[in-house]
């Protein structure tokens, strides 16, 4: 009994963390290339509604996830075009992307409110899922949970073990130097922005296809912003982003369980917890200015105009 409950709580934590992890890992790659995209919330929402629409139109869960990635990437392309080609302010453009995405997803999702799709299926890993506690906790999840861990590993490998990753990080440290060496700064940054958008879209679709398989206006409820905070928390390192996402998943699930147990704390107070935790975590990380400076991409948010 105890083992079952613990296993279920861990599994729920991982599920709550997965959309955050996906969005954060995408944004991490974008920021490593030197671009700050504050539109994560908007891209997640558009991904959520696109995934849900395609799935309920008979495209299947897989089709939905692909559509969500494309939709997120399309939103990111808009952002990339404005910030990289027209040199608009990245902060303001990101905010615009979130507002636009919020409105667009609400508009597109009109007809889906109140409908549902089958939840993304679970895949039990043979043998491993039979282990008491660990099995239900870690080895009986849907494909995207496993996928998010694989993506984290792949991003880590790419950034720190390949030449391509080195070049991408160079863009984030000094675009001018990278340009002088002869790398196509704008092209590489655009690709990083697109990846960030696709991952945000996927994270959004995880909410609408797996977490709560339905569409509701503004269903991300600030998760895109939490993902942005996670990147800072992680000091731009993939594995730490995963750790951060799981901590936040834990906070979310803990407050849900406390509510469920009928403790007489008002639900609104408990719902504040993830947001308050985000602030606390940000303060803890950023109070050490040198550490942030050492890890943050030096060119983050700075526009780049190619000379000659």
């Amino acid at each position: 009994m105890f083992l079952d409950t613990t296993g279920a709580i861990i599994a729920a934590t991982i599920i709550a963390a997965t959309p955050l992890l996906l969005a954060a890992i995408g944004e991490l790659v974008t920021e490593k290339s030197g671009v700050l995209n504050l539109g994560v919330e908007g891209m997640m929402l558009v991904g959520a509604v696109a995934g849900f629409a395609v799935d309920s139109a008979g495209g299947g869960a897989f089709g939905g996830l692909i559509a969500a990635m494309l939709a997120g990437a399309a939103m990111a392309a808009l952002f990339g075009f404005l910030t990289l080609f027209l040199l608009t302010n990245q902060v303001a453009t990101g905010l615009a992307l979130t507002m636009f995405g919020t409105g667009l997803s609400a508009l597109a999702g009109q007809g889906f409110v109140g409908t549902t799709v089958p939840r993304l299926g679970k895949i039990d890993i043979p043998l491993l899922s039979q282990i008491p506690l660990l099995g239900p906790a870690f080895f009986s999840h849907d494909a995207l949970v496993y996928g998010s861990v694989l993506i984290t590993a792949a991003v880590w490998y790419f950034l720190y073990r390949t030449r391509g990753g080195l070049i991408l990080r160079a863009m984030g440290e000094s675009a001018d130097v990278a340009h002088a060496i002869g790398y196509p700064v704008i092209g590489i940054r655009f690709a990083a922005v697109l990846f960030g958008g696709a991952m945000a879209g996927l994270g959004g679709a995880y909410l609408s296809l797996a977490y709560t398989p339905l569409w509701a206006e503004n269903m991300t409820a600030g998760r895109g912003w939490v993902a942005l905070a996670l990147v800072v928390f992680a000091t731009w390192r993939p594995w730490r982003a995963m750790l951060g996402a799981y901590i936040f998943g834990g906070v979310t699930i803990a407050q849900l369980h406390v509510q469920g147990m009928g403790v007489s704390i008002p639900p609104q107070l408990l719902s504040m917890l993830p947001y308050a935790a985000t602030i606390v975590v940000l303060v803890i990380i950023s109070r050490d200015a040198t550490r942030v400076k050492l890890n943050a991409p030096a060119a983050l948010g700075k526009p780049f105009l190619p000379t000659a």
Partner: protein, 372 residues
């Protein structure tokens, strides 16, 4: 050089910013938004000209419509004025929605506490409470940024969610009117706690006049005062500002407190004006939309006034097409997002010339030769 591929579109920095474009860019953006809106309406299966008429013209074709425009523009302009000070200094307060909510909540609680009394001092008291509460809420990101170097964008935004939950908690709990049959809302404000309307038969209150005064004050502060100068320098050339000895933390504090105070003021104006009680939702996103107003108005008080009227129209238009044509209210958000996108894109024309492949080559090489 000659063998290098020439890109299709190239930006050429202007020697100095184009004054004309500073004013033309918002107009171009509005026109592009209208075109984009027509496409959107057509895609949704509505005749664009009918939809555009219902969205932009019908809502303000009578006096009451115009008065509603003022009602909606008042909070937008107030908040945008405060935000523009911060944006000029590169302080990104995007939690005005939360500061508005807290201003409405605490100003509203003072009003409810004094609801049965009469006296001239009641309105000033609740307004001061609203402003102070908004400032206090903005002081959190100011303190965390100056003391712990914490990003004010994320903190102010997280505080918005917390503020809304706090309001929700209280109107479901201690502030709930027992006579409201279980609806989560407070008692209605009494006459002595409500702002007086200044035009009969409309919802326009004295808050609109106060807002106009604040626009004037802000103009003087930004254009003429030393503080305004410091703010502008800090935004345009942070290194120069440091060298000149302008204290960055002080500017962070001042701009955030001003932004929070004005957002709080907008909050108490809403509950003591058009709404008249506390309820779970105070604002249809004024705090976020004001960001668009601030940019559309070029961060300038007079520009913000005009931009506030235009963006207020997008709220009225959204309601009008919902009622008249059965369109979803979310159209408003799409329009607002589109407007900001186009504006940001048009802004490129202020500092750059766009060169297409094959145009202006001679001029550029000539200029370069002259420089060398």
């Amino acid at each position: 050089m000659s063998h290098k591929k020439v890109p299709l579109l190239r930006l050429e920095p202007r020697a100095e910013t184009a004054r004309v474009m500073v004013y033309a860019a918002p107009l171009i953006a509005v026109v592009l938004t209208l075109i984009g809106g027509s496409v959107l309406f057509a895609l949704m299966g509505f005749a664009p000209h009918v939809a555009l008429y219902n969205f932009f013209i019908a809502p303000i074709s009578d006096t009451y419509g115009l008065s509603e425009l003022a009602v909606k523009a008042t909070p937008l302009v107030l908040i945008a004025i405060g935000l523009s000070l911060g944006f000029r200094a590169n302080v990104w307060n995007i939690g005005a929605e939360g500061q508005l909510t807290i201003g409405a909540l605490f100003g509203g609680m003072v009003a409810l506490a004094l609801n049965d009394l009469t006296g001239w001092y009641i309105l000033p008291l609740e307004i001061i409470a609203g402003v102070l509460a908004g400032m206090a809420w903005a002081a959190i990101p100011a303190f965390l940024r100056t003391r712990f170097n914490t990003n004010e964008i994320l903190v102010s935004l997280m505080l918005t969610y917390i503020a809304q939950l706090l309001l929700n908690l209280l109107v479901h709990g201690v502030l709930r009117d027992p006579a409201a049959l279980g609806f989560p809302q407070s008692k209605a404000f009494s006459d002595s706690t409500l702002l007086p309307t200044i035009l009969d038969g409309t919802r326009v209150t004295s808050s609109t006049i106060i807002t106009l005064l604040i626009v004037g004050i802000a103009w003087v502060v930004v254009a003429k005062s030393f503080v305004g100068f410091q703010i502008r320098v800090a935004g345009l050339a942070p290194a120069a500002a440091r060298y000149a000895g302008f204290r960055q933390p002080r500017l962070v504090w001042m701009t955030l407190l001003a932004g929070g105070g004005l957002a709080g003021l907008a909050g108490i104006f809403e509950v003591a004006g058009p709404i008249g009680q506390l309820q779970p939702t105070i604002s249809p996103g004024y705090g976020f939309t004001a960001i668009i107003v601030a940019f559309l108005g070029r961060l300038h008080p007079l520009g913000i006034l005009l931009a506030g009227l235009l963006v207020a129209l997008s709220y009225l238009g959204g309601e009008a097409v919902q009622i008249n044509m059965g369109m979803p209210l979310a159209v408003t958000g799409v329009f607002q997002g589109m407007l900001l996108f186009f504006l940001l894109a048009c802004d490129v024309l202020v500092s750059y010339r766009i060169r297409w492949r094959g145009t202006g080559q001679g001029a550029v090489t000539g200029a370069r030769a002259a420089k060398g």
